[in-house]
């Protein structure tokens, strides 16, 4: 059978040759001494190169080399053969008398020839019809981070990466070309080596060789029902052929607080308390009622003269220097029969808070065997373990470390003389003048940060096994199969000590664990052939199955009489409160195909489609089709262009391209089913379980559908000195998963339905200019720009506004015509003046209280008074980068600019509007209302029991919003490559020393009420964007590193 097939293919090949022969005969009329040239093509390490284009200069004819690097082409003597291959320098060889021409290609600096990783394959950059941005190892090495995402931050137009706080390891949210889902995910699909994963952050940033960001439908539609939010393909470093190669990369980072927020000092705090007390003259004067008693009541805090003894700067007392080491080792070795590689990483990232850290251990072993000339089998085993503790995001009250950092009064010491830690309970008066804790929460931030009030270690680990097989069925037809199995698990414990005042003096402990297991099987054939030396066809067809399930369980208890057990014996707690476990699973079943057709590398066509089936869709809609098409025209290859001296002198390359296609976004598991809700009821002090109405059924539930049009151009000018890529896109998402309100008389509040529509449209460009390109000196500058307009087009059946309540009450909005998650609230217009007492009284307010805009003059505040307060999304993003190379030195600087957008700052409420529960901003004494300082936004200072001056819990207030624009020194990177001669002396292949300065400056427009403006504290949903809650301060980080190749 095998023989027969081989014969068959031989025959087929013969037929093709014959036809080629005739074609050649007919097309080359003046054929003289046509002979068959053959040879082999290798790369710098003498590995055969498959798919090298071998063409004849001045003609459109070319062939591709096979998997042994062999080629054969008919040419006349004297003709010039051109060898072109992605990522390699073009080579030209004149055909002489010899019929054998072997060539060795060198890697190129010109990125047009680069291989770009796309879905289920690679393509030459010059053949792309879609919008794909890539970063290679060299680019990735310009950043130092433990989180792979941060290598990409502000590096790709249209890819928005937010680092929400200064936690070790980063707290990242990502989107590509804006938000397009209300209830579904807005995060891109992430693949590592072609397989979907949710566990990217576990990899070492040094693991990656390249990253492709797929933005338009032509690029993403091959991933079908999960590709609406774009796709990011991460490719890891692999084993290489060649001698034993050892590379070590190590660095140490030193992080210091980037910003200090000025809070009241001890004297300022006592002045604040005085003003609060004196708010109500009926209490008597502070100087008479309170001041004389300070020492008597609080001898540990006040001296005999009733002056504060301590003056604690909680930020300085709590924040330390974060020293974080990083090591990465790679070992590779290979020959024509096999290749293998070992990659090991370790880092220990620290926070400004002693309590917080992330230790990451990564390992990868990969190997590849060439078993037969037609059969390759390879595999990779990789895994990682993260041990981390992030205490600073815990809770929203007295346990929240960054909050306590700002709210603790400066009159309290870190520790009292007896060694005990102060808390907010250590001090206070009630409005009768009696000694009383008036704010019962508020742990000491130093105690929180040194683990004495509890710990919460988290261990995460992942193990991934991947096996791949590649079978060359014929010279052009290759079958590939990849099977991957990934198991992720975590084990999280939390313990709060008895002294932690959030635990009511009884302690708390909990533990939870979860495991997700996923397998994926991908199988596809690719056919790559050139007909008539002009028609290049690359066809792909395949199938993919995957299945994933997650199991979890957790338990907690409280009521401890000792801190001995921490979280190690939950059964000891006298108040077991919860146990839980959960199971969820989903399966997918997909078929896909793609056709690339290139005519003379001039006219490019890509058609792709995926037929996707998913268990999460409703019973009536299990499968969906996601097609796309892309067209490209390399104008610079046209004769009229090449012939025009003016044009070809300016433009070395000019391509225009356009694409259109459909992608999807899946609902969550089980969202189409009628579920039975679980209820907890207490009857006669017995907890009993109930089962009743749950989720409303919708068997018609299906994916969200995004259609995207992208028009772009890739231009090289002035002999490739300037390159420019511009994309304009229009992305419309319809059939949005939307929780449509129904009459509660039905027993249900809402049903998830496919209704509603959102649009993102925008412009991206990336301009790169080599200003100086000398041997010893080079200077490049680049500018990235992206602008996205997000707009809700339709909502439910009625297009009625949807207002979401966040931590600060109703503050975000979905409204037709406005960006998703826009802010809405009541306009603060100032404070009531003494001359306005009568009018203020109609609102139940007094002079000194907050004055808000009553739009309809009905003397109450409700939805009718809510005003549009802006969008959380920036107007545009820009990154200015420059790199300077001088001899062995090079310097790279990224400066990020974000313009527009708003941030809602919780601290503006809890610190400024409710000063009684906190210390105050240093500015509050100057800014707060007094009878002689009436024209202000900050209300009169008062005690907690006095009438409040804020409508916290109902509506957001315009005064809580900050302009989120900023200019950030993202990264500054200086490298020194030691000279070859010195390296040789040190018996090294290469040695690079580097310094990196991250977050090296921040210019912002705020009022010094926030540590940083780049943060969203309430998750990835549209309604939580731009809302901040005391995020962990982000450090300014200086890194010293060494990269050695032995």
């Amino acid at each position: 059978m095998k023989i027969n097939l081989q014969r068959l293919f031989k025959k087929l090949g013969f037929t093709v040759c014959i036809s080629l022969f005739f074609f050649c005969i007919s097309s080359t009329t003046n054929a003289q001494q046509v002979k068959q040239i053959h040879g082999s093509i290798t790369d710098a390490s003498n590995n055969p190169l498959q798919g090298v284009s071998v063409g004849i200069k001045g003609s459109d004819r070319y062939v591709l080399s096979d998997n042994q690097g062999h080629y054969s082409i008919n040419a006349t003597q004297g003709a010039t053969l051109q060898f072109t291959y992605v990522g390699m320098e073009k080579k030209e060889v004149k055909v002489g008398s010899d019929n054998i021409i072997d060539v060795n290609l060198k890697p190129t600096a010109n990125s047009l020839g680069e291989v770009v990783v796309i879905g289920y394959g690679t393509v030459k950059r010059s053949d792309l019809t879609g919008s794909i941005s890539t970063l290679d190892t060299k680019e990735l090495e310009k950043r130092v981070s433990t989180n792979p995402y941060l290598l990409l931050a502000a590096k790709v137009p249209g890819l928005n990466i937010f680092n929400n706080n200064g936690n070790p390891g980063g707290d990242i949210s990502v989107n590509i070309r804006g938000f397009s889902s209300i209830n579904g995910s807005n995060s891109p699909l992430i693949l590592v080596d072609g397989v979907i994963t949710n566990n990217l952050t576990g990899y070492s940033a040094s693991d990656f060789a390249s990253v492709s960001v797929l933005k338009d439908a032509s690029a993403t539609a091959i991933y079908g029902a999960r590709a609406s939010n774009g796709v990011i393909l991460f490719t890891t470093k692999k084993a290489k052929s060649g001698d034993f190669n050892l590379t070590y990369d190590g660095n140490v980072s030193i992080g210091v607080a980037a910003r200090h927020i000025d809070m009241l000092d001890a004297n300022g705090y006592m002045e604040l308390f005085k003003r609060m007390w004196n708010y109500d003259p009926a209490r008597g004067s502070y100087d008479v009622v309170i001041k004389p008693n300070l020492h008597k009541d609080y001898p540990l805090l006040f001296d005999e003269n009733n002056n504060p003894i301590y003056n604690t700067d909680w930020q300085k007392a709590t924040e330390g220097t974060a020293i974080s080491p990083h090591h990465y080792l790679s070992l590779t070795q290979g020959n024509e029969k096999s290749k293998s590689g070992i990659f090991l990483g370790w880092n220990d990232e620290r926070s400004l808070f002693k309590s917080d850290y992330q230790k990451k251990y990564t390992y990868r072993f990969n190997t590849e065997y060439n078993l037969k000339s037609w059969l390759k089998i390879g595999g990779e085993l990789n895994g990682w373990t993260i041990k981390q503790q992030i205490i600073s995001n815990q809770g929203t009250g007295g346990e929240n470390l960054p909050r306590q950092l700002l709210e603790m009064p400066s009159i309290l010491p870190v520790q009292f003389p007896d060694g005990s830690y102060s808390t907010f309970r250590s001090w206070g008066y009630d409005i009768t003048g009696a000694k009383s804790q008036y704010y019962p929460y508020g742990n000491n931030s130093v105690a929180l940060s040194n683990n004495s009030l509890g710990t919460q270690p988290n261990k995460l680990s992942d193990l991934r096994l991947s096996l791949n097989t590649s079978v060359d069925l014929t010279k052009d037809l290759v079958f590939k199969s990849i099977y991957t199995n990934e198991a992720f698990s975590n084990l999280f414990f939390r313990w709060g000590s008895i002294a932690n005042i959030d635990n009511n003096g009884i302690g708390y402990a909990s533990g939870s664990t979860a495991r997700t297991s996923t397998w994926t099987s991908q199988n596809y054939v690719t056919y790559n052939h050139i007909y008539n030396e002009k028609h290049h066809i690359n066809f792909l067809a395949g199938a993919e199955w995957s299945s994933s399930y997650t199991q979890s369980m957790g338990a907690s208890s409280s009521g401890y009489s000792t801190d001995f057990y921490q979280y190690n014996n939950l059964g000891v707690g006298s108040l077991p409160s919860t146990v839980s476990s959960n199971y969820s699973a989903f399966q997918t079943n997909s078929y896909f195909a793609r056709l690339n057709y290139y005519y003379s590398d001039k006219y490019l066509l890509t058609l792709s489609s995926r037929y996707d089936g998913s268990s999460v869709f409703g019973a009536n809609n299990k499968y969906a089709m996601f097609p796309s098409a892309g067209l490209g025209w390399v104008v610079s290859k046209e004769n009229f262009f090449a012939d025009s001296k003016g044009l070809s002198k300016i433009f070395s390359y000019l391509k225009v391209r356009g694409s259109y296609g459909v992608t999807g976004n899946s609902p969550a598991q089980y969202s189409s089913l009628a579920t039975v809700g679980s209820y907890t009821v207490n009857l006669n002090n017995q907890i009993v379980k109930g089962s009743g109405i749950g989720g409303a059924p919708n068997p018609d539930l299906r994916w969200e559908k995004t259609t995207q049009l992208d028009i772009g151009t890739d231009i090289r000018m002035f002999n490739d000195r300037v390159s420019l890529t511009v994309d304009h896109y229009l992305k419309k998402t319809s059939d949005l998963l939307f929780s449509v309100p129904v009459s509660v008389v039905s027993g249900y509040s809402a049903v998830t339905t496919n209704i509603g529509s959102v649009q993102n449209s925008g412009l991206e460009f990336d301009i790169d200019a080599g200003i100086v390109r000398n041997k010893d000196f080079g200077w490049d500058v680049s500018l990235l720009y992206s602008k996205n307009n997000n707009k809700v087009l339709a909502l439910g059946k009625t297009n009625a506004d949807v207002i979401s309540s966040g931590f600060l009450g109703a503050s975000t909005l979905l409204r037709v015509g406005k960006p998703m998650g826009s802010f809405i609230g009541i306009q603060r217009i100032g404070t009531w003046g003494t001359s306005e007492a009568e009018e203020a009284a109609k609102y139940g307010k007094k002079p000194g209280d907050i004055k808000r805009l009553d739009v309809n003059h009905d003397y109450k505040f409700d939805e009718k008074d809510m005003q549009f307060l802006g969008s959380p999304f920036p107007k545009y993003d820009m990154t200015f980068s420059t790199s300077v190379r001088y001899k062995n030195w090079d310097l790279n600087v990224d400066i990020q600019v974000r313009q527009g957008g708003k941030v809602e700052n919780v601290a503006a409420l809890t610190i400024e509007d409710r000063t009684w529960f906190a210390s105050g901003y240093a500015s509050v004494l100057k800014d707060a209302w007094t009878p002689t300082h009436q024209n202000t936004m900050v209300p009169a200072l008062r005690m907690a029991a006095d009438p409040w001056n804020t409508d916290f819990g109902s509506y957001a207030d315009s005064h809580w919003f900050e302009d989120a624009s900023f200019i950030r020194g993202r990264s500054l990177n200086l490298n020194y490559n030691i000279p070859r001669s010195l390296a040789d002396k040190m018996k090294l292949k290469a040695l690079r020393l580097y310094v990196n300065y991250d977050n090296f400056f921040l210019i912002a427009h705020d009022h010094n009420r926030l540590f940083d403006l780049e943060n969203s504290s309430f998750g990835g949903g549209y309604a939580g964007q731009g809302q901040t809650f005391y995020d962990t301060p982000r450090p300014r980080t200086l890194t010293f590193g060494i990269n050695a190749n032995f």
Partner: protein, 495 residues
Amino acid sequence: MKKYLIILIVFVGFSSCKKFLEENPKSFQTTDNFYKTEGDAQSAVNAIYSFLYPPYTKTGFDDLPSAMLEMITGQWNNVSQWPETGYYYTLTNSSGSSYTLNWWTSCYKGIETANLAINKIPNINFSDSTVKNNLLGEARFLRAYYYYMLVNIFGDVPLKTTFTVSPAKDGLIPKTPVKDIYNNEIVPDLLYAESNIINATPEGNGRVSSGAAKTLLAKVYLSMAGNPVNDPSAMALCSAKALEVINSHSFSLFQSDANGTWFDKLNNKAYDNKEEQIWDLNYNYPNLPSYLNTYFLPKEVSFTPSIQFGGFYPDSNFLNSYSPSDLRGRHNMGFFYHSFTVNGQTYNFPWAIYKFFDKDILTTSPGSGKGFPLLRYADLLLTYAEAQNETDGSPNAISYQAVNQIRERAGLTDLPAGLSKEAFREEVWKERYWELAAENKTFFDIVRTQQVYDTKQGKFVPLIGFKLPSGAVVSQGYLPFPIPLSEVQINPLLK
């Protein structure tokens, strides 16, 4: 061949079947695999109770939906910082209010959960049909209770007794007149409940009992005798039903004894579901805590481990309306308090509500395990007294005894004998104001009588024109409360 064998193995190995994409949830049930066993039936009935809690659940700092039923009584000064209660205090509440939406949503979700149980349980096989009927009785009691709340708060509302198949369509039904909801739904459900629920009292199980069904039925008849149904025959039914409860001797008033004052028994969770408590909303500390008790802690001082809010304080006119010798009035730690001593320190503050002061909150605050009284024997006694007096034209001895029992334990003298019908009626009404204060009962009296006790004048006045302590004056059409705006927008039939 080898090449193709590899491909074949791969494809056969992973070829999918139709079942591959079916969802098979394991950590929750779907309606397809539920309502099969006796245990499912029990669980389905338990769930109906859970919708009683939301109006009594404090959210945020001091937002408590049940407070909306108290502001109209004129007994209170709102001191909460959250604006919503203030809208009811100043009578500026609107159909956009979250409190009315909370009541509406809780009641209809409770009704739907009951509808599911009532319609599905008959198809489940039970070994003992009395067990099945008992469960149906509980479910029908709770459905009737939710409708009783709805008609009193909102007036005419949609009546739905079948379960929902299509959520988008099944709720779009018109309003049914209050009278029809009482006659066709509430009364039949309660009649079924009183004859099918096995337990006579909640003692030992905390569930609704036949005694609770009779009590609620008596209250329902009393409401039906008044506005807006004005059914004259209902008074006699009320009197008879209430007498059944009295004569059952299943319940009794708490009395002060060696174990504590009767006030402290009302506040003590050990006395929940017992004696005077005909039906409590049951809580559990720490697993299902109540935050209501913390809500009423005076905000000027702090003697518990959490922030204290005050909620609403008694208006001085209301306090003054109590007789000086009334232990429920200006008597520290009766129904109210103005000082409290803990750990040797005495805290003084304005008069605040002590009625819900669970002593455990000194350590467990903000949570508490104390229940909230939904039906109390004192209410039943006064219900009987009023109905008997109206039915017979003058009070009989049992009615006198009913009122005097309550007066005696409050430290008051008995009512003078030989009161006229009108005089006795007014004494009963006033007793209801004093005894049932802050328990969300007075609102129902205001709805049925359309009168309010004006504590400043010491007399009952028409609701329309009544001036609240905030200075706001009740205008025509203030009650019933408007149906939530969001519901009217979805279902225009509710306009």
